[in-house]
């Protein structure tokens, strides 16, 4: 018997010009997602941000704790472009620091006689990759004698660009880590509540109500106050992910439970039961595939909350601590009003946060539209 023609498993999709195309499930999802303009923008931007975070040590010209002596609160370097030996060459001028006669604020002036070309793939400060081997290659840099500070410097003369790029590592991955832990907790606890039902369900749901009723910020504060100060940065980071997910799992658990409850009584589940399917079989073969897409969407939309949580904690000084770097830590420098007025570049990390959150929400929206191409 001849079965399964080439197009048999494909879904017909009508094109605008009246022709019909046959698409597989995967392509149908991609197509829906791609049609969501904002998601189409969000995905590459997020990919770029994460790549930036992963290769941050290479992209950053300086280490996050390198002090550029004499360059406190310096504004972003101005990059000039010129032709040098028939080659297009960007360069910066060396800068000289003077003080304002009345306010004693630093004033940086470019010395136009001292040109420093920007070199690519230069040797600089050494860094470790995964604690395994040492490397000193950087994407760009200038020769000794001048410096390049794309986002300016902070109040202790460190390059804000390097710190922003390296801080992305903590800020971006705390979201993923937190959501991963929340996901495991949410699936197990929500699954138990939805599956067992009855008094267990009631009990778990009331616990969740209780957790959600506690304002998150004070709860986070209490929990992170419990993290010992002397812990190394990596431990603190891990502890903060856990703190964030202690509240984060509740939302996921509710989604899992609700979905289980609504799917459990559908006829196709009864049909599977009548065909002789065991509980585990029904959960793994029927229920999970049917709400996996919802889970992915919920998780994507949960990441921004985690990132903001870390930022908030670090901003109030309870999250990551110096010498650790995260976007929240960087914003700590903007707490005083003077900084905002005279050194607005210190707010650049906030822009990164805003863009990241927005992009996650766009991608989440796109996924939600695409998740169920066969929705009932």
């Amino acid at each position: 018997m001849v079965l399964a023609e080439q197009t048999a498993d494909l879904a017909p999709v009508e094109n605008g010009d009246g022709s019909t195309e046959y698409l597989s499930r995967g392509r149908l999802i991609r197509r829906r997602f791609w049609r969501h303009r904002l998601a189409r923008l969000g995905l590459p931007v997020l990919a770029a941000l994460y790549l930036m975070a992963i290769f941050s040590d290479f992209i950053a010209p300086y280490r996050p704790d390198t002090r550029l002596k004499g360059f406190k609160d310096a504004p972003p370097s101005v990059i000039h472009f010129g032709v040098d030996e028939n080659r297009f060459q960007p360069y910066v001028y060396a800068r000289k620091r003077t003080f304002h006669s009345k306010t004693f604020r630093e004033i940086y002036t470019e010395q136009e006689d001292k040109k420093y070309p920007i070199h690519f793939f230069v040797r600089g400060d050494t860094y470790e990759i995964l604690g395994l081997f040492k490397l000193d290659l950087h994407l760009f840099g200038v020769d000794e004698g001048a410096n390049i500070t794309l986002f300016g410097t902070d109040s202790v003369s460190r390059d804000l660009f390097s710190r922003t790029v390296i801080g992305a590592l903590v800020s971006l991955f705390v979201g993923l880590g937190g959501v991963a832990i929340s996901f495991v907790l949410g699936c197990i606890i929500g699954g138990i509540a939805g599956y067992l039902g009855g008094i267990v369900d009631e009990f778990i749901m009331r616990i969740i109500d209780l957790l959600i009723a506690i304002p998150t910020l004070p709860l986070w504060m209490v929990l992170s106050a419990a993290i010992p100060r002397q812990w190394p940065v990596a431990h603190t980071y891990f502890a903060i992910t856990i703190v964030l997910s202690i509240v984060g799992w509740t939302g996921l658990a509710r989604v899992v439970r609700g979905k289980l409850l609504s799917l459990r009584d559908l006829d196709f589940v009864t049909a599977s039961k009548l065909a002789g399917g065991s509980d585990l079989y029904i959960i793994t073969r029927h229920l999970l595939p049917n709400f996996a897409s919802h889970l992915i969407v919920t998780m994507t939309l949960a990441v921004p909350g985690m990132i903001l949580g870390e930022t908030a904690l670090s901003f109030i000084g309870l999250g990551m601590q110096e010498p650790g770097v995260s976007w929240g830590v960087l914003l700590d420098d903007t707490k005083n009003f003077g900084a905002l007025v005279h050194q607005p570049w210190k707010l650049i990390p906030a822009l990164f946060i805003i863009v990241t959150i927005l992009m996650f929400n766009f991608v989440g929206d796109g996924l939600r539209d695409a998740a169920d191409p066969y929705s009932l």
Binding site: M1, V2, L3, A4, E5, A8, D9, A11, P12, R25, G198, I199, E202, R206, L266, D267, F268, T270, A271, S272, K273, L274, A275, G276, G277, Y281, H286, P289, N290, Y374, S375, L376
Partner: protein
């Protein structure tokens, strides 16, 4: 008539506890099915009708143990050697018997897993009862598709690619997959439009004569039941109020509730003058049923006795059972002949 009935249900009860508060205290019982007895012979169709909430779906689900009955026995005659009481056997034993009975569902949209292909959906009972797998399974499913009038080349499509009527055919194919003896059709056509209803009903009729199936055909609509049933049972608030051969029930009803239901059946001939019996009020609450005959608050013939004494289901004329104190006296109007 020597062949034993395929299904013999006796004294079937299904009570749902009403729970309240955090600790889920049981504050009452909903008697969804209360002491129902019925039999279905080999190759016979028993139509089961009643309003929504009368417990007819619950009966179907109890028989197939999608729900565990509270009490009663469900004798299922598998072959000449073996008859089992499905009400009391364990889940594991039940799993072995799944292949002999299956169900067709009301809603063709929710009864097929949207993430599964037709091959997987129709083949699921075969796989789970280990009757076929691989290429053999595919062949079997393809021939089932043929039986229900769908093209075998669509096996790898997902349910969303099919219309309501086609989906219901897929549901029928799934129910047939393991060559069952008994099929419980739970309002299989009420979600379909009229022309599709007729197609599915004809399909079910054809399949019955081809495979010698027995049906318990659940419906809320007597006109659908008329088309397919040999005998008809009428349910009201968890109890059977009348059971009779189809023609007997349609033309000579012995219970006022049946009469009211019959008067609601639309007739295609506009010249036939009909007296519609409009039942006052709602169907009684099975958690708090009325005293005496459950139907008395809505019955136009009700008398004092009906308020106090619960009527038993008794044989009024041979083969016709009704639970009305005045079944013999009342001159009830049946369907126009």
């Amino acid at each position: 008539m020597t062949a034993p009935p395929v299904l013999k249900v006796e004294g079937l009860k299904k009570y749902f506890p009403v729970e309240k508060g955090f600790l889920r205290r049981v504050v009452g019982q909903v008697k969804a099915v209360d002491d129902v007895s019925l039999t279905i012979g080999a190759g016979e169709t028993l139509g089961l009708v009643g309003e929504s909430g009368s417990g007819k779906t619950t009966i179907g689900r109890c028989i197939l143990r999608a729900l565990d009955p509270t009490a009663g026995s469900i004798q299922f005659h598998i072959d000449d050697e073996k008859t089992v009481d499905m009400a009391t056997i364990s889940k594991r034993e039940m799993r072995e018997l799944r292949r002999y009975a299956n169900m067709i569902f009301q809603d063709p949209y929710y009864s097929l897993d949207p993430r599964w292909t037709i091959l997987d959906i129709v083949g699921e009972p075969l796989r789970l009862s280990k009757l076929a797998e691989g290429a053999e399974l595919e062949d079997r499913v393809a021939s089932l598709m043929d039986v229900v009038g769908l093209e075998a080349k669509h096996l790898r499509r997902y349910p969303h690619a099919f219309s309501g009527g086609q989906r219901q055919r897929i549901g029928v194919a799934r129910a047939l997959a393991t060559n069952p003896r008994l099929i419980i059709a739970d309002e299989p056509v009420s979600a379909l439009d009229v022309s599709t209803q007729a197609q599915i009903l004809n399909l079910l009729n054809d399949l019955q004569s081809e495979f010698g199936l027995s049906y318990l055909f659940i419906a809320h609509d007597l006109s659908v039941v008329e088309h397919i049933s040999d005998r008809v049972a009428v349910m009201y608030v968890g109890k059977l109020v009348e059971v009779a051969p189809k023609d007997q029930l349609f033309f000579f009803p012995k219970h006022p509730y049946t009469e009211a239901l019959l008067s609601a059946v639309p007739t295609p001939d506009p010249d036939v003058e009909k007296k519609r019996i409009i039942l006052p009020g709602e169907i009684a609450n099975p958690a708090d049923p009325p005293s005496g005959c459950y139907f008395h608050p809505r019955c136009q013939y009700a008398q004092d006795r009906c308020r106090e004494e619960e009527p038993a289901l008794r044989e009024i004329v041979p083969g016709q059972w009704a639970s009305c104190h005045f079944a013999e006296e009342l001159e009830l109007v049946g369907a126009p002949q």
